[in-house]
Symmetry: C2
Subunit: 450 residues, 2 copies
């Protein structure tokens, strides 16, 4: 009865029942998601999938955010799901390491564009789709993840199917079918991490979930207990049998309210140190040549996961807390531009990196760090970060999310488009017609972009 009860919840939940905070967080999720999707739109892996889409005669039905070309809704879901995960800079539900937006928003937005749905319908579907995937993630975590599944891909498609069921206002039975069709095709082995196939996982989940939702809408039958059955999703793909989590206390709070956003484009263990150096720089505006040394006091994991000192590529920079802190010092950020091969090999950056040291402090919590900067004039500056920005206790402010959006979208869309999009997302529930929104996400004439 788990899937049936869940389908009933999906059908019976309407926008009006969602909390203000859930809607607010769904919009923050959208802005963050949209930014990282646009930012990676020209990545070489995107070109490869565009080429395959053209081989299949894909028709221009839906926007690929940050791209001129439209593609059919299934490929739009795939491409947008991919792009938004390419930088590893999208949102996270920290309890399960689920990235909730990448598999769900792309399915919703492709469907919404084709069917001319409103902003309110998009947000409603997202809160519900996110709720379904997040609860399912909780039900199979951690054994599912440790067995080797990339949870964002494997449960994300079911969240997308739930969202698309909602958008079609499907009956309970059809919603069960949609969930079943999505549940039978989990995507994502963790072995693929470090390759283009990692971002393919949420993309394919979005594509599968959209297809499953449309098929369920046609009455294509599947099991009515795909999640809970003996040979269903939860039992086949995990050692847990935490079935109650899927449906209990539905509507009391929403999982999207726990969503978190990364302020920096590197692994989360580097964030307290980056936050610390930015704290010092905001106050002192130091120049690199004034610095004699920088010492990071951090949690043991900082060394274990990001202790790399010799680095040559942008990707390696993400695994070097020394490079991360140098970036924060020089640019007051550690975003996409700080993890290019060029920036990593810049002489000033390299010089500063060499002055940075790491001391493990067992007392330090995971979201804490202390930075000590010694200057050539003998001064010593210290900054302690109690909770790093982006952590549960210190969420990214609206302004920081806006700054991130502006930064991460780079030169792909115009400055004017960025500001219009930010404003539209903030009042997304008032948009009856999303045409302008979609148009602003497409760089129509490359020459005009600044």
């Amino acid at each position: 009865m788990v899937t049936e009860k869940l389908a009933l919840h999906i059908k019976n939940t309407s926008y009006e029942q969602l909390s203000q905070n859930a809607i607010y967080e769904a919009k923050r999720s959208l802005l963050n998601w949209l930014g990282v999707a646009i930012g990676a739109a020209e990545h070489e892996s995107m070109e490869k999938v565009f080429h395959v889409a053209s081989l299949t005669g894909s028709q221009p039905q839906a926007t690929v955010f940050g791209r001129k070309e439209k593609v059919d809704i299934l490929f739009a879901a795939l491409l947008n799901g991919m792009s938004s995960h390419i930088f590893d800079f999208d949102d996270t539900l920290l309890e399960t390491v689920l990235h909730p937006s990448a598999p769900v928003y792309p399915a919703i937005l492709a469907f919404a564009e084709k069917e001319r749905r409103s902003g309110k319908e998009v947000l409603e579907a997202f809160v519900i789709g996110c709720e379904v995937e997040a609860r399912l993630a909780l039900s199979v975590y951690p054994s599912h993840y440790w067995r080797g599944w990339h949870i964002t891909g494997s449960v994300g498609g079911i969240g997308a199917a739930a969202a698309i069921s909602k958008m079609q206002d499907l009956e309970v039975e059809n919603t069960q079918y949609a969930l079943g069709i999505a549940a039978t095709e989990p995507t994502g082995l963790r072995e693929m991490f470090g390759t283009m196939t990692k971002p393919f996982h949420p993309g394919k989940a979005a594509m599968n979930g959209l297809l499953a939702g449309l098929m369920g809408g046609q009455g294509f039958t599947s099991s009515k207990q795909p999640l809970e059955a003996e040979r269903g999703f939860i039992k086949v793909l995990s050692e847990e049998s935490k079935m109650d989590i899927i449906t209990d206390n539905w509507g009391e709070k929403w999982e999207v309210e726990k969503n978190s956003y990364k302020p920096f484009a590197s692994g989360i263990v580097t964030h307290p140190a980056i936050d610390g150096i930015i704290g010092i720089q905001k106050q002192h505006s130091l120049r690199a040549e004034e610095v004699e040394s920088i010492t990071i006091f951090g949690h043991p994991l900082v060394k274990e996961l990001t202790g790399k000192t010799e680095i040559f590529t942008g990707l390696e920079g993400k695994f070097s807390v020394f490079h991360c802190v140098a970036s924060g010092f020089l640019n007051l950020k550690a975003s996409v531009g700080e993890f290019t091969d060029e920036f990593v090999n810049d002489p000033t950056v390299k010089g500063l990196r060499g002055k940075i040291h790491l001391v493990i402090d067992e007392q330090m919590k995971e979201d804490q760090a202390k930075l000590v900067v010694k200057l050539s004039d003998g001064r010593e500056l210290t900054h302690f970060v109690e909770h790093a920005i982006g952590s549960m206790d210190q969420p990214m402010s609206d302004q920081l999310l806006i700054d991130k959006f502006i930064d991460v979208t780079g030169t792909i869309i115009s400055v004017d488009a960025k500001h219009q999009l930010i404003e539209m997302v903030q009042r997304f529930e008032t948009l009856d017609d999303l045409t302008v929104f979609f148009d602003l996400c497409r760089p129509l004439e490359k020459g005009n972009q600044v």
Copy 2:
């Protein structure tokens, strides 16, 4: 190194190295597969997916066998993979219960039609794709199956990706990528059995495998050890670690040579009894009213799996050995037409069913049965089946496969088209241009069909 070695085998194996018997069996597989695909082309689940394809603006690139409408290559792979598994009447590799054609031929044929490839290239790709999926199935069987995976869907996509890699003559590295992209998205929970989602599994595997092959062709990267790695396909999805099976003794024999075909559209345990009654009828041409009783002596599984006496639907008929034997007696076959609701409820059929009894004989092997028919004139006819037709020891003859093709394709294509297709499949390696072959599979004008 398992995947790399496998990719090397795929790249280096050419048509000339395949045995005559492998080519012969690939053609028999094609005829059997094509018949069941055409036969189910108008099933209601097909209509539902056609509708979804049209929502995505699918373009007419490739044939859906038995249908007028063409769709894009990805949906063609999905639809043809589905249709060929709808009747549960496709081929089987008995060691692993893998149905090898349904996930692989649809991907190959969609690609071949669009790219105008030859019959020889199709057969070459099939033998290789079948080899890959069959070896992979052996490597994860039985724990994979018992854990709850529908092996045809879960390994089939990797076979399809191998076939499409071969057809593009991909380099080893790109082939590894294609296999990896397919491996990260296994499709098919056994919970879906009994619903439209069961045939969806090989269909989606074909679609995924085709997409993965095309993406690998573009250099979309994935793990280079997706099968053997700690968090790769084999270890995440099974308890086995039988890695050697994947590549050892490649080319000595071909898995397709072990392919088997179902002579009857019901579960395999009913086949010896049906074979037996047809044996009696071919000799004696009895009428139902002459029969006083028919007694089946069979293996214990016959009762366990197909002991149903009260049946009301065509589907239930497949689980009643009594109905199966009645069908064989009356029609000399037990094909699609014998498992309709109408036939099951026909008074003559019902009457005869009531005269049939089952006796379990522990001495009987699974592919054996003895039939004893008592006639009202006092005569008693007995027939012992040593190896049922379609079993390993008694494979379907070419003529029986032809009869099955003609029967199962029903009125969907013309009698003339059937005979032309049979003739073309028999010399498939000589067809440089497959246009006529594809055209013959499409009922262009419904009124003309007989």
